[in-house]
Structure formats: C-alpha cells, structure tokens
Symmetry: C2
Subunit: 127 residues, 2 copies
Amino acid sequence: MNNSDEVFEALAACFRVLSEPTRLKIMHAVCEKEMSVSQIVEELGATQTNISRHLGLMHRGGVLLRRKQGSQVYYRLADAAMADICRSVCSRIAGQLDARQPLRGALMKLMPRKRAAARPAPSRAAR
Amino acid sequence: MNNSDEVFEALAACFRVLSEPTRLKIMHAVCEKEMSVSQIVEELGATQTNISRHLGLMHRGGVLLRRKQGSQVYYRLADAAMADICRSVCSRIAGQLDARQPLRGALMKLMPRKRAAARPAPSRAAR
DNA sequence: TCGTAATATGCGCATGTGCGCATATGGTTT
DNA sequence: AAACCATATGCGCACATGCGCATATTACGA
C-alpha cells in the first residue's frame, strides 16, 4: 500500500524531469550524439548557467550520463527508451496540435531515431 | 525554428500532467474503468477539493475524458497510450528502485493492462 | 420548494521552480 | 605562477503549484 506511494513518487519525479521545454530541447540535442555543455549552450542559445543547472538535474534524475574529458563535460542519453517515450508522446499530441496548426511535420522531425552513440573521442567516432 | 518551440512547450505540458503523484494515482485508478469523482476520492483517500482540481487539470490537459450522468461526473482515460507510457517508465525505473528495495513487484502491479472500457452503468457496480 | 448530495472554484498560504548575476572550482596554456 | 577557458553553484527574485477552507453551482429527492 504505502509501498506504492514511493513508486508513484519516483514515477512522478521521472516525468517531472521531462516537464520543462528547455530540458526537452536538451534531450533532443543529445539524443543522437553526445555533446559538451558549451556545445549545448550554443545550440540552444541559452545561458551557460541555466543549461548547466538543467544538465545537473537531468543527470541526477538518471536521464543523462556524464563523461568528463579535460575541462569539458560531455552529456549523453542514459537510456534510449526515454527518447522513445518522448517520441510516443510527440506523435500522440501531433493530432491535437494539428487541429490548430500544421505542426505534425515539425513534431516528426523532433527526437529522431537514434542511429549510433557517436563520441567526440580522439579517433573513433562510430560505434 | 520558433515553430518547434511550441512543440516542446506542448510536450512539456503533457509530461507536466504526469509529474504529480496524486495525478498518477488517479491515472492508475481510472486506467481500467471509468470512475466518478467521489469514487476516486474514496479510493485515494484524498480530499474532494484536491481530487476535483487534479481531475479538471487532467481533463483540460487532454488526458482524461469527462462524462456527466446526473449529478455525478465520470472520468476515464482519453488515450490508452498514456497508460502505456506510464507502464514503460515504470518498468524503466524498476531496476533503479530495485537496487535499493524490492519494489519491482509493486511496480508491476501498477497500471495494469486495459481489458475493456467498462461503464458503471445503472446496475453494475463491481468492485 | 427546500434540503441534501456531488462537483467545482475563489482565496490564501507554503513550497517548489526557472532564471540571471556574480562567483567558485577545476583544467589548460603560456 | 598567472591568465584564461569550461563548468558548477550560492543567492535572490518572480512566478507557478499543491493544498485546505469555505463557498458557489448544479442535480436530485422528499
């Protein structure tokens, strides 16, 4: 009984990570290839402070993995299933949004299917 | 470009609905059978005010459907895909929680698969 | 019609959250 | 060592959110 309370709490916490546009943009940026903080900052056009904070939150939430290389820190998706879930919801809300505007196209271009986990490591970049 | 901003916003809004334990409990209660507000209140042991507010939010968010019958209002899942998504995330976090406690069992019992859209019509009041 | 049950909502409070500014921390280069 | 990059974090502010209390609204039965 009270046991399931903890489950609902954990489940809610997981969804809470995904309940912020900036964090979803980060997921979108990172779902294909690992990226450093500054790369994400540039791609999203947000401040370093804000991105860093969101990245920390997503990492603590178990959504992103962290890899430190020199002074840069690279983040990548911890689980491809999370991107799948985003895609599911995307296609689910596509119809609703489409009723107002032709956004289905934009939706489908988001959260593209993963191909490979490319690492900007020295030599190898494939996997 | 700016077009996708709206998509991320909508996606985040969708996840925000699921980012609250009480709302997830409601989803769990309603994912099998349609239920009235007072039934949900009793099952969750929460106040009527709070449940009603959450139900309104979930309905406006497109997650629940509303059906009025007399003075009662019945709510049910608008889309079985939402329950599927909850189940996905449940099984995803099962491992993480299991590392701390044996909660996998509790997780698996949550959000059971839907069988039929049973309506609490006049006579039947099963369970 | 009046009382009662079922549901929704205005108000206020406590707490959570996103953000920017300034600054700290750690690594790299000269 | 010093200057410089990349990233993280303390602080404060504006705003959102969950909740309960009281009350409004609607439907139904006596």
